[in-house]
């Protein structure tokens, strides 16, 4: 089976956000770029499926500037077979534009499973997976926490408020991955060396028209300075009194 994993390069979660000169995007100075953590679960699960089937191909695809090639190499070092780089420079496109470009590139590949992280930890939109599935006219299950491969179906669980849905989807399907699905492997030295020789195909991204305009990126208003109520058990009654009478939250 051919599997496609859509991955995104994002700022490391330890990044302190600074607003860039355009007032609309992250200041990239000093930022460490990583493979989106939720996408690691997607790459890992695709590799496990390939290992289980003993055959097939895992294709990693990413959209962005020249920098995303290092993120594609991360996926190749984990074990993906080849990469596709959809080239786009300039401001980050909206989710629907990305889904359109991905759909156009993925459609001819004949993939049985298409994987994405449930969201990217930069824009937190959680949109591209179900948008891509809709564009490809494929069934989709988002934010899966378990995965079981059947002959012509997959059975997965997704967390909803206070419960879990057990969903069966027919193949081919689009799945987005949540934390807890698996424990992503670290790339081995051998894998890192092998990744350098694996092919990355470059082509222009067909984004189409924009569907959302970013007017501004701002830092949230700082929280008003709090106070230390006291030390140790002796301060507990004061704390409870403040929560009850000042903050009125209990």
């Amino acid at each position: 089976m051919i599997q496609v994993v859509c991955i995104k390069q994002v700022a490391d979660t330890e990044t302190r956000v600074k607003v860039g000169a355009d007032g609309r995007s992250l200041d990239p100075v000093g930022v460490t770029w990583i493979l989106n953590p939720y996408d690691e679960f997607a790459v890992e699960q695709a590799l496990r499926v390939k290992e289980k089937l003993g055959a097939g191909e895992v294709i990693a695809i990413s959209l962005g500037g020249a920098g995303v090639q290092s993120t594609l190499r991360n996926a190749l070092a984990m074990g993906a077979d080849r990469g596709i780089h959809l080239k786009h420079d300039g401001p980050a496109p909206d989710s629907l534009a990305v889904a359109r470009a991905l759909a156009e590139a993925i459609q001819p590949l004949g993939a049985g499973l298409i994987w994405l992280g449930k969201q990217a930890v930069d824009d937190d939109a959680a949109q591209v997976g179900p948008m891509l599935a809709t564009r490809l006219d494929l069934p989709c299950v988002t934010a899966i926490a378990t995965f079981e491969l059947g002959a012509e179906t997959v059975t997965v669980e997704r967390e909803i408020e206070g419960a879990r849905e057990v969903v069966e989807a027919r193949l081919p399907a689009v799945l987005t991955t949540d934390k807890g699905l698996n424990e992503p492997r670290y790339a081995s030295l051998k894998g890192i060396m092998a990744a350098k020789k694996k092919p990355i195909e470059e082509r222009a991204a067909s984004l189409g028209e924009m569907n959302l305009e970013v007017a501004a990126l701002m830092l949230p208003p700082p929280r008003a300075a709090g106070r230390i109520v006291g030390e140790g058990v002796a301060a507990v009654p004061t704390l409870v009194k403040l929560l009850r009478e000042e903050a009125r939250v209990i």
């Binding site: 930890v121 989709c140 206070g162 057990v166 970013v214 701002m218 109520v229 507990v236 903050a247 939250v249």
Partner: protein
């Protein structure tokens, strides 16, 4: 122009996010004008007429046995049909597990822009402008729409539901043509998670534990405090990665972003990715033995001390308060 609101129901009960979205639609309608119309996909009417009091002028019901559980493709077709029938300027979804899955499908079907997980909507220079947290709340993005309809999902528990006395909503059948045959993705069953606990994103009070607890065997301290406060238990990434707590308990950038009225952080130092996920809480309490811990910078009330002494004392004090009202 009308405003369309997706009415989320589960097991025949309208979910709170639907009333929150109706409340915001009513406020927008005061500026934009137009009726507020709901659209609901369900096996049967979950009592939609009562949503008049929450701000709906009328509600379109797509009734189908297939809609007894969530069906992303079918629900998206139903909402698309409602958009075609009502030509709304704005379509609102609750940003719940269902809304997060559904709204992008509808947006892709319509070729429309979607602003996800919004925390504030306003009309600026005559244009709808949405504010949404990005980087798990480390920053806020303001977005606008080049075309109508504008699709938005609203973060749960941020927007207030409205109440209008005595008006019922007209409920009208919405004809929806679904593809023949079984759905390609089908919910087979819904299993409640252990203890039927309230989801972190819907909790009024959260008590989270971190590495300061020293081991999973000490989490009962957190659970007892949470029990006394009527709170849900959360956790830092460190303790989830160590396997002390399940993944769905994690608060922070690779876990849940939460905004409860009270967040109690116990033995959590306050890594930047954790602060991102909880700093929009209304009131934050930090209990930590290190007075220099970054968590104290965002805490409204800090208590420096040994959590193994402080937490049981706090639990006892809250219980005392509960007993005396």
């Amino acid at each position: 122009m009308s405003l369309l609101v997706f009415i989320e129901q589960r097991d025949g009960k309208v979910r709170p996010v639907a009333r929150e979205a109706l409340g915001e639609a009513t406020r927008l309608a005061a500026t934009l004008g137009g009726p507020v119309v709901g659209v609901c996909a369900a096996a049967s009417d979950p009592g939609l007429a009562a949503l008049g009091e929450a701000g709906a002028d009328r509600v379109l019901l797509a009734a189908n046995d297939r809609f007894a559980t969530y069906d992303g493709e079918g629900y998206a077709i139903a909402v698309e049909a409602a958009v075609r029938a009502t030509q709304p300027a704005v379509v609102l979804f609750g940003g719940s597990a269902m809304g997060k899955d559904l709204a992008p499908r509808v947006a892709a079907r319509l070729g429309a822009g979607l602003a996800a997980d919004c925390t504030h909507l306003e009309i600026e220079d005559g244009r709808l402008t949405a504010t949404r947290p990005v980087y798990a709340g480390k920053a806020l993005q303001k977005v606008r729409f080049p075309r109508t309809p504008a699709l938005l999902s609203l973060r749960p528990k941020v927007f207030a539901a409205a109440t209008r006395a005595g008006t019922g909503a007209a409920v009208e059948a919405l004809a929806v043509t679904l593809p023949a045959g079984e759905p390609r993705a089908r919910v087979q069953r819904v299993s409640a998670v252990a203890g039927g606990k309230v989801d972190l994103t819907e909790s009024e009070i959260i008590v989270s534990g971190g590495r300061g607890l020293k081991g999973p065997e000490n989490f009962p301290l957190i659970e007892e405090l949470a029990g006394a406060l009527g709170a849900t238990v959360g956790a830092s990434r460190a303790v989830v990665d160590a396997g002390w707590r399940p993944h769905h308990d994690q608060v922070g950038q690779t876990g849940k972003t939460v905004s409860p009225k009270l967040y109690v952080a116990v033995g959590i130092s306050g890594a930047i990715q954790h602060l991102a996920g909880m700093s929009s809480s209304r009131c934050i309490v930090a209990i930590n033995k290190d007075p220099e811990a970054p968590i104290f910078k965002v805490a409204d009330y800090g208590l420096v001390g040994d959590l193994f002494e402080v937490v049981p004392a706090l639990t006892a004090e809250v219980r005392k308060l509960n007993a005396h009202g």
